[in-house]
């Protein structure tokens, strides 16, 4: 995914000596951040409309990407058809999860959304292992091989694609929330579901729609990430965790702060991997999360002060 994965930590000083090197690492982080931000939109929408967290969100993206790989490589479907079927599967899984499982959690069982979606995560992962296999597979190129060099900085088409999709989706979501009837309904439901119902908003249908949209976002994210890495039953898990961390740092009931946190986390992640090696981001993110959660004002971290829709 990131070219500097191959760099040894002792190259740090050498890299810092060249401005283009530092720009390269930061740009790579912003690209990752754009992908986090795009993926995070689905988490934020679901949380804001129903105050629920979907632990299986990443695996819905995995089903789209790994499933489409299986369809075109093992079954022999045309790539475009396979990708469309993969995306449709993710959307259906998200919708069914809301209708068959989430909707049935009794109101007083606060926190059971985490438990049952953890169950869906296990189901999807094990299902993928049985049907698609357990090995890592190369996925679609999606412009990864088309590269240009600008002032010593490498940029490939996939990076541009990810940034364009990420930024466009963030802006489109904000506009939709602010300036459309559906967005207004969503914000009203998030504010007070009972009042929203009393003015004729079908909150139940709205929640299902949001879950379906989150399934679509997960699918596109899974495909984009798969094109930068490879696909297997577990490749979305670290990505999901980091996305949740960005949401947690920025605040799940807000919009711009978590999006900015997603970009910030992408850059932090990128530098951590450069400095500590390819797997160095896990401890670095753990330390960051602990420091921020310890220092954050109490109102940011205590869920019981948050109104539930």
């Amino acid at each position: 995914m990131l070219w500097f994965h191959q760099q040894a930590p002792n190259d740090l000083l050498a890299l810092l000596m060249t401005l283009s090197g530092a720009v390269q690492v930061t740009l790579a982080g912003l690209e990752t951040g754009a992908l986090y931000a795009f993926f995070l939109i689905g988490v934020l929408l679901v949380y804001q409309v129903s105050k629920q967290i979907n632990f299986s969100y990443g695996q819905m993206g995995m089903v789209a990407a790994f499933g489409s790989w299986w369809l075109y490589s093992d079954i022999g479907l045309p790539v475009a058809v396979a990708v469309i079927v993969g995306i449709a599967t993710s959307i259906i899984v998200a919708g069914l999860t809301e209708v068959l499982i989430i909707r049935r959690i009794p109101e007083k069982r606060v926190g059971y959304d985490l438990v049952v979606t953890l169950g869906v995560l296990l189901l999807l992962t094990a299902g993928a292992q049985v049907i698609f296999g357990t090995s890592s597979q190369s996925y679609l190129d999606l412009l990864s091989s088309s590269r240009v060099v600008l002032s010593g900085v490498f940029i490939n088409g996939n990076d541009v694609l990810v940034v364009v999709i990420g930024v466009a989706a963030v802006i489109a979501t904000r506009i939709a929330l602010d300036r459309t009837g559906a967005g207004l309904s969503l914000r009203a439901s998030a504010e007070n579901a009972a009042v929203a119902r009393s003015v004729g908003i079908n909150v139940t249908r709205l929640r299902t729609t949001i879950w379906v949209i989150s399934g679509l976002i997960a699918a596109v994210s899974g495909i984009l990430l798969g094109s930068r890495l490879s696909v297997d039953p577990f490749y979305m898990t670290p990505f999901l965790i980091n996305t949740f961390i960005a949401g947690m740092i920025g605040g799940m009931d807000r919009f711009w702060p978590p999006i900015i946190a997603a970009f910030g986390l992408g850059v932090y992640d990128s530098w951590a991997m450069f400095v500590f090696g390819p797997n160095g981001d896990a401890p670095a993110v753990f330390v960051l999360a602990l420091v921020i959660l310890s220092a954050a004002p109490r109102r940011f971290v205590e869920e019981r002060y948050e109104a539930r829709a």
């Binding site: 059971y112 985490l114 169950g119 296990l122 189901l123 299902g127 292992q129 947690m248 090696g277």
Partner: protein
Amino acid sequence: MTDAPLADETEAQKAEAAMGGATSFRTRRWRLLEAVLLLGLVTALYGGLSAYWLVIVAQVCLYTVATMGLDILFGRTGQLSLSHASFFGLGAYVAALASAHGISYGLQLAIVLLIAVLAGAIVAVPTLRLSGMRLALVTLLFGQVLQWFLITEVSITGGSEGMTVTPLSIAGFNTGEPHVAFVVSLALALVATVVTAQLSRTQAGRRMLAVRDSELAASACGIDLPRTKIQAFILAAIYAGFAGWLYAYVVGFVAPDTFSLFPSAYFLVAVILGGAGTVLGSWLGGAYIVLAPQLFAIAGQPNLFAILGGALLIVVALLMPGGLAGGISALQRRALSLQVRQPAGPNGR
């Protein structure tokens, strides 16, 4: 995590109170019957099982101990943790590394205790201000960091290939011998069972239940929330640490995969499926984690274990909040109440 079933003692008291003091004799008779059945079961297992299945049952005992740890944290205190397999793994790797360096068993146990207390505190202290998703995420990150360490520090841990562990050997008894492994594991499980069952009768245990049911109400009653949560985290880590330590000696091998996110999720499945807040539930959950994969492997479908785990987590969480232990307890109460309602015979019996 509200609406979990009541803990052991409260459950029993509720049953007795509902049916009157006259049933206490019958309740005692039930318990005597249970004890006799348990003794018979242990004897039958010891004498009747093959070497392979004795080791499997030993693992059931050890997973039960670890499940009890998570039950204290999640079932009795309401704190969701996704790093329980990491605590289990810490104990296992202490055994692997310490035995490789010839450290005495007494010192090893002290190290396990120290590391469990430290690990429990490391996860607990920053999460005192958190709950729900935030808490789950921090515990998840802790597990990721441990995985990172186990996989990257190849020279210390053997990396993803894992390490072999020389069996525990004291006074001529060796855990490489299945009967010894069974007895030692059972002994640890029985000690853990007694301690956990007594926990509900202690001040600390009652504080945990109060925190689980309502942090606000518990706080209003003067309960120190941070202290109670830290105690629960540390106890959970100690249970898992000791279980993991013995697990390494019984199985003879440790690898990072055994202690990753998915095994942590299986511990959660075990607690919820067995029945949160009960020692019987922990036994049922521990048996599920170890025996279900074996049964699926025998049936030629090893991957179905994870699918079943996911499905059970959803179904039991939604439809059977008391888990299997809750169902058994309900049946037991029904049987007792039927006995009470039986009309007296001609001789007044």
